[in-house]
């Protein structure tokens, strides 16, 4: 019995336990290691992917529930918003150890896709689920604002 997954716009077949958390399917069966394991209980956000554009903690969803849904991982980000976010992250040297940053970026991209003029409070509410033990939060916030401004300025990112 297989489950057909749509990951980064590519169709993939998964054979195995349908209860497998999506995280391990992404990382091990599909070999996409950008999505990370940090806690396994949806507390840290390192495992965040997009499902139909909405952030999902992939450690907390069974792969069986993903049939027919569009999954995007950090490797698959390609939109104008995503490019602006990643460029702002690099320009501001947001990262330190970097392990949480795939998840942070996924959350930030989802925020700006739906709320281009996100306020500080919107940022708080959107990223409160993403832990950074290096505490790069100040730069995360600044990078989201920079990306937002650049996207609005029509110069693009």
């Amino acid at each position: 019995m297989s489950i057909t997954l749509n990951v980064n716009a590519t169709s993939r077949e998964f054979y195995g336990d349908p209860d497998t958390p999506l995280l391990w399917v992404i990382r091990e069966q599909l070999g996409l290691t950008g999505t990370k394991y940090g806690c396994g209980i949806a507390q840290c956000g390192a495992c965040t992917v997009h499902v139909d554009g909405v952030p999902l903690r992939s450690c907390s969803a069974p792969v069986a529930a993903m049939t027919g849904r569009a999954i995007t991982t950090i490797e698959g980000l390609a939109s104008r918003v995503a490019k602006a976010v990643q460029k702002a992250w690099v320009d501001l040297d947001v990262v330190q150890c970097g392990y949480c940053q795939s998840g942070q970026i996924m959350s930030a991209v989802a925020l700006l896709e739906k709320m281009p003029q996100a306020s500080d409070e919107d940022i708080d509410h959107a990223l409160a689920g993403n832990i950074c033990r290096c505490a790069t939060y100040q730069r995360i916030r600044a990078a989201i604002h920079v990306a937002s401004e650049r996207l609005a300025s029509k110069e693009g990112a």
Binding site: I41, P55, L56, S60
Partner: protein, 197 residues
């Protein structure tokens, strides 16, 4: 033995059989028939129903403000999550970001397809049972429901029903959803009188 005593025996025996429920069953409506005054009986039925309504499994999603609470001690949900515009969470941190269609044992996260917060007008934390009762009856604050719809919601809605199958180490609400439904039905029949406190 007295009628009351007999009913107590029935209650105990019924409780022993309710193994899928919380440790404490909810009393049946019949067990209140010894209360002669209908208004008193109505109130007492709702007080019994209140054991479920005011249980942490229900209260956690009926908070006073814009943040749900968690666990048995009703502490603020960690991480910070908020109601958002549609009671389903903030942009990019939706309830469904973590809570899936069913309880997911590997992560310990509870779930239901319609996981969300009760609207602000249905806040129960910090309210007396009497105030909760008035809220439930009031169409302006109960989502425009008729009494029949109230009963239907409490007796059959599957998100409400989650409270009795919460998964993990979470204590279920007392009794069963069916027992709650029966109490609500009886409360409606007896005139939906609210406790004074």
């Amino acid at each position: 033995m007295s009628v009351t005593h007999a009913w107590l025996v029935v209650i105990v025996l019924a409780g022993a059989g309710a193994s899928l429920a919380g440790a404490d069953p909810l009393r049946s409506p019949q067990s209140f028939s010894s209360i002669g005054d209908q208004a008193d009986r109505s109130r007492a039925l709702f007080v019994e129903a209140g054991r479920a309504l005011q249980h942490p499994r229900c209260l956690n999603c009926h908070p006073a403000g814009d943040r749900p609470t968690q666990k048995e001690d009703l502490h603020p949900h960690s991480p910070l999550v908020v109601r958002g515009l549609d009671n389903k969470g903030a942009i990019a941190l939706r309830c469904a970001t973590c809570h899936q269609a069913a309880n997911f044992e590997p992560s310990g996260v509870p779930g239901h397809p319609l996981w969300h917060m009760a609207p602000r007008e249905m806040a129960w934390q910090g309210k007396s049972l009497g105030e909760i009762c008035e809220q439930i009856k009031d169409p302006r604050r109960n989502g425009g429901k008729t009494l029949t719809q109230i009963h239907e919601h409490l007796a059959h809605d599957t998100l409400v029903g989650w409270a009795w199958a919460p998964g993990g180490h979470r204590e279920p609400a007392p009794g069963t959803q069916a027992q709650l439904g029966a109490l609500i039905a009886a409360w409606i029949e007896t005139g939906t009188v609210c406790p004074t406190r």
